[in-house]
Amino acid sequence: MAAGKHGLIGFNMPEEYGGGGTDDFRFNAVIDEEMAKAGVPGPALSLHNDVVGPYFKDLSSEEQKKRWLPGIVSGETIIAVAMTEPGAGSDLAGIRTSAVRDGSGEDADWILNGSKTFISSGINCDLVVVVARTDPEAGHKGFSLLVVERDMPGFTRGRKLDKMGLHAQDTSELHFEDVRVPSGNVLGKEGRGFYQLMQNLPSERLSIAISAAAGARETWRQTVQYAKDRKAFGQPIGSFQHNRFLLAEMDTELDVTEHYIDRCLQGVVDGELTAVEAAKAKWWATETAKKVIDGCVQLHGGYGYMMEYRVARSYVDSRIQTIFGGTTEIMKEIIGRDLGL
């Protein structure tokens, strides 16, 4: 709610529903950078603004917008998207959650069954966009996006998962047992769920890259300071050539990363960012961040292993970045396929 009052959510939603009416993704990027730099627990602003919010903004009918957007804009309504399943991560074809119509005609309700896992904000969400098979014979054209509301009978939350890092953000299992979902809660067009998911992925992946680079940059800055202050053998540890070279290499790698991210960010602003460019930004920035932060832990010595030090928290919090939103390996598949290989 406080984030809504400060104007940090909903700025990219239509003005008639209380939003700020801007489509400039640089505002999203500023939030991603500052939250990553601060490294403090907080609400999942990136999830709300960059990942789930766009589905509601771009795919809702006017009637759905009136029902859902005011709460999303104010922050009163917490939103989530449920894609991953115990047996289906990167491979959407493995999704088993399904919905069948209870009756004939387009107005018939859907009956939803299945389970999801690794769902960010799963415990606290009021609305969750569930990716479900609505036509088992239609392959990629057989998925739809169903919006499940907090109190719908048959919708239960499973375990709050015990993660390595990011403890302030809940990640959980969700279960759906004969959940009756009105036809008016289908987001976008029936059977277009897969394509609708793909539409938003480039900017979603870029936001992960932005957070990764900003978090690594801040950890690097703090490590430079530590290398100036911490003494060994009578001199600052940063004055040893090996350490000086390490910090110089990290600075260079982060500069190059930021430059490419900024180019991609301009691509989003201009409506030209491709899935391949976003995949390059995502794997490169997150792998660079992993390497830089690991090097910063090493430079802190034993203190780097202590959770009271920011560098240790950065190490565990950032580790997921090469995995969620599409793994490094999937990003390379996207790039490789584009090469015709």
Binding site: A3, L8, R26, V30, E33, E34, V40, P41, E258
Partner: protein
């Protein structure tokens, strides 16, 4: 390296975000 992607309105927004983090999040860090 100076970044050229952001304009004055984005930097003003950055100040707002920092204000929010300082007033709403940092005090709750240990909770």
């Amino acid at each position: 390296m100076r970044r050229l992607i952001y304009e004055a309105e984005h930097e003003a927004f950055r100040d707002t975000v920092r204000g929010y983090i300082d007033s709403e999040l940092v005090p709750n860090t240990e909770r």
